[in-house]
């Protein structure tokens, strides 16, 4: 698999270094601890899957990175160091140039991500105007056609640029959004939030293929937020597993699927329907995802854990520590 770089070769400073990120939302029942003390690094050109169930905080992490948290939600603390600059300390104008320029964004629902009252061409031209000021005036349309052709949206005659979002299928819109994210500015990192969840399986495969090829071609790093572990297996070099607002495991993709260390990751992989079916029954995980307003002081997975080791699990929140396998960390007292 030639597109997976040997990670050991890259000993430079990480592209993105997130330290102690904490984001909370006030609610009637007290603060929702959506993201608690999350730290991780993304290396140049690396594809990282950020996985978790709904409410685990994975999308909030992504939004927090770019300062896209709407009040009353608030990033309480943390540093987001991208190319040696802390994005949280930049002014709004500078952040805007990073967002969409150096960091591309792909959202889940392509239909609602576009403005329904502007043509696709208008929306894409705005991106170029902001992030590619070097382009000659009037040179936009040629560039847009080149971008769309690259993602497989046929622009013969140029009329496609004058059409609105509703003229396109979901799959085509997602391709256009990928064009905007990967080719609109000059990004070195692309953030994708459930990019294929609203698509059918054959279209999903096409979009994943496109994303994989563009990443290889442009050397982009990728953070793929998804609840679908299969997408991570297809596309990513490394996996970050979130549970109840915290990072519980950080591993390279093979170790994560073959020797998962955190009990949550283990139980999650066992409850995954395989195709074809592996047996008559699925192993199911007992209990539900905990309420993020009143998390217990200890490990938030303790109640559902099959490897519960005693009082320490109820009282002390485990931090992410190295395990016996190289390049694999887990937040569990088993490894303390």
């Amino acid at each position: 698999m030639p597109w997976i770089r040997d990670l050991n070769d890259i000993e430079q400073s990480p592209l993105l270094d997130v330290r102690g990120l904490t984001t909370r939302f006030p609610s009637d029942r007290g603060a929702v601890h959506a993201v608690e003390d999350v730290s991780f690094c993304i290396r140049q050109g690396e594809a990282v899957g950020l996985i978790g169930e709904s409410g685990s905080g994975k999308s909030t992490v992504l939004r927090s990175l770019l300062g896209l948290i709407n009040p009353p939600g608030r990033i309480v603390s943390g540093e987001v160091i991208f190319r040696d600059r802390d994005l949280r300390k930049l002014g709004e104008d500078d952040v805007r140039r990073v967002r969409g320029g150096q960091i591309g964004l792909i959202f889940q629902d392509p239909v609602n991500a576009f403005n329904p009252s502007l043509t696709i061409g208008d929306q894409l031209r705005r991106i170029l105007r902001l992030h590619r000021p070097g382009l000659p005036a009037g040179g936009y349309d040629g560039e847009l056609r080149r971008m769309l052709a690259r993602v497989g949206v046929d622009t013969a005659g140029g009329s496609k640029l004058n059409q609105y979002a509703f003229n396109f299928s979901q799959g085509q819109l997602q391709r256009i959004m990928i064009a905007a994210a990967c080719l609109g500015g000059e990004p070195s990192l692309v953030l994708a939030d459930e990019p294929t969840t609203s698509l059918d399986v054959t279209i999903e495969a096409q979009v994943l293929e496109l994303l994989r090829d563009l990443r290889r071609e442009l050397g982009l790093a990728l953070i793929l937020v998804t609840h679908n572990l299969a997408l991570v297996a297809e596309l990513c070099d490394r996996v970050l597993v979130m549970y109840a607002g915290r990072l519980v495991e950080d591993a390279d993709v093979y170790s994560m699927f073959e020797t998962p260390k955190h009990p949550y990751t283990r139980q999650l992989l066992r409850s995954l329907p395989r195709f074809p079916a592996s047996g008559a029954r699925l192993e199911s995980m007992r209990g539900n995802v905990p309420d993020l307003t009143g998390l217990p002081p200890g490990c938030s997975f303790a109640l559902r854990c099959e490897q519960y080791i005693g009082a320490i699990c109820d009282t002390v929140c485990p931090s992410l520590v190295p395990t016996s396998t190289a390049d694999q960390r887990a937040a569990c007292h088993l490894y303390a």
């Binding site: 709904s54 054959t202 679908n228 395989r274 199911s284």
Partner: protein
């Protein structure tokens, strides 16, 4: 043996109104479908959005009257039943919906939701209905503390169990489950799949399981039917369809499923194109514009659904008929 439920040339065509120049156009949501569901089996109906699988399920229950074809229950023609006969029929055929939050009345408690079918059919007294409600909750693995809760007070997985309990209230022998796990998280999905599998065995249910997720169907069903643009293109025993898919669309669908194993990366041959609109379906075989095997005849004639292997029917000109040759 007579199948519990079967349909012959069942169609559901929706006319499109408000087209310019008074043109009449039709959405061929379900188009001349034949399918038999044997008693006690679970049949998985798979397809992408727009393939007509949900409309098929709803038409089978006669939630809207079919525009063509016949529906048989226990060999009896029930097409067009209304009034009391339809109500009696509905006691035997119930549905579990995709989004549990949308499928229940938010102003009713769990107990009221579950026992509503009993009230509608005038079964028992309010006291006996409540007792039955507790039994049903127990059956789906919820404690009786749930009776007084409102939908917003329970999680998605729990509410889907409530939806299943409600469907079981009238002791039906046939359940249509329309993507019952699509809105649930991975760790909860397994619980609900197992629950459905257990209930099937315990209550001897016959199941039509509608899903776009083949891996879920793979756990629950003995037979699989594949739908594309209103037509069933392939139907057969689960293992046959999974291991020896014959229709090019089924093959494309199976190869497109991402596998949760990084050593099995194979996104190299994503199927071409997108599913066309059910209004302007391509002539001949509706799949031919995307099909790698398309021949001249495919552009002209829709292939009949024919037996191509034991118990395995396929609608494709390119697949040789049974016993001719090994494919």
């Amino acid at each position: 043996m007579t199948p519990l439920v079967s349909v012959e040339r069942l169609s559901q065509h929706f006319p499109l109104r408000g087209m310019p120049f008074g043109r009449k156009r039709v959405v061929y949501a379900v188009d001349e479908v034949d399918l038999a569901i044997e008693r006690g089996t679970a049949v998985g109906l798979i397809g992408e959005s727009g393939s007509g699988k949900t409309t098929f399920g709803r038409t089978l229950l006669q939630l809207y009257p079919p525009t063509g074809g016949r529906i048989y229950v226990d060999g009896q023609d029930v097409t067009g039943a209304h009034g009391q006969p339809l109500r009696t029929l509905r006691r035997r055929m119930q549905m579990v919906f995709q989004n549990p939050y949308a499928a229940v009345n938010r102003r009713k408690t769990v107990a009221e939701i579950i026992t509503e079918p009993l009230a509608i059919h005038n079964i028992g007294t309010s006291v006996s209905r409540l007792a039955r409600g507790r039994e049903l909750l127990d059956l789906v693995g919820l404690s009786s503390t749930f009776t007084a809760r409102y939908p917003h007070e329970v999680s998605g997985g729990q509410l889907q169990r409530v939806g299943i309990a409600r469907a079981l209230a009238l002791e039906p022998d046939f359940i249509i489950a329309d993507e019952p796990t699509a809105s649930l998280d991975v760790s909860i999905r397994a619980q609900v799949i197992n629950l459905l599998a257990d209930l099937r065995v315990r209550l001897g249910l016959t199941l039509l399981f509608i899903s776009h997720d083949l891996s879920v169907v793979s756990y629950l069903c003995e037979r699989v039917a594949v739908m594309y643009l209103g037509k069933i293109v392939e139907v057969g025993p689960k293992a046959e369809v999974e291991e020896h898919p014959l229709h090019p669309y089924t093959r494309a669908l199976l190869s497109a499923i991402p596998r949760p194993d990084p050593r099995e990366r194979r996104l190299l041959s994503a199927p071409l194109g997108e599913i066309p609109s059910a209004v302007d379906r391509p002539a001949g075989c509706h799949y031919h514009p995307r099909c790698p095997l398309a021949m001249q005849v495919c552009r002209v004639t829709y292939p009949p659904l024919e037996l191509k292997a034991p118990g395995h029917q396929v609608a494709c000109h390119a697949v040789p008929t049974a016993m001719e040759d090994k494919v």
